[in-house]
Symmetry: C2
Subunit: 110 residues, 2 copies
Amino acid sequence: MGLAKTEIFSDNQNAIAKFAKAFAHPARVSILQHLFKIDSCVCGDLVNEIGLAQPTISQHLKELKHLGLIKGSVEGTSVCYCIDKENWTEMKKLMTHFLDQDLSNSADCC
Amino acid sequence: MGLAKTEIFSDNQNAIAKFAKAFAHPARVSILQHLFKIDSCVCGDLVNEIGLAQPTISQHLKELKHLGLIKGSVEGTSVCYCIDKENWTEMKKLMTHFLDQDLSNSADCC
DNA sequence: TTCATTCATCGTAATATTGCAATGTAACAA
DNA sequence: TTGTTACATTGCAATATTACGATGAATGAA
């Protein structure tokens, strides 16, 4: 099928899956790390930094933008992208809460 | 293509993507949350809790097991699954480091 | 205007993912 | 043994993802 049955899961579960998908490809991980490292905004030199074709990078950027994790603004002929801090912080809270589930109460039974 | 060019990315980036993929489906998120909530190990009643067919759940469990996030042991006719705490902790460290990148140094230029 | 640059979008091919019915397998019960 | 129960595996259909060449749109330069 290739189609997830999102209806039967909670909003929380779907939200986690949605954001996790953003990180589920090394190119998008790389793009985000780059936008964090460069403290001014970065434009299409992502294409040079990462070894993928321009349409491919553009597509990954579109997905990240759609999720709200980054935002872009046109500057002349180039486009400047950067992390959307508010949304990143909110996403981080969601993911951290999921990752931080308590490991202590369950016995190591397996 | 549908094939990620993993060669051109760092081990760190590929590892993050690999674990993120585990969380990129609400069924797997649900399974993990369940294994955390039930403080004793859980067997195939995951099929009842989640509304997916048995082969589908079995497949998701296999993926999580392959990644090392859960482990299973046979108990009579049923199989008991639980979180692999060591690997979970290690994965959490990796993901948290990625999520915790500093937001303060970059100006909000977009 | 014309040209070059930068990026987005379209179209397409290759591969991956999701889901389930059908079937296989291993353990226990009778 | 035969049956039953609990999972795993196989095989397949539907859809999603990844990647890129070709092309389009917008901006600035000449």
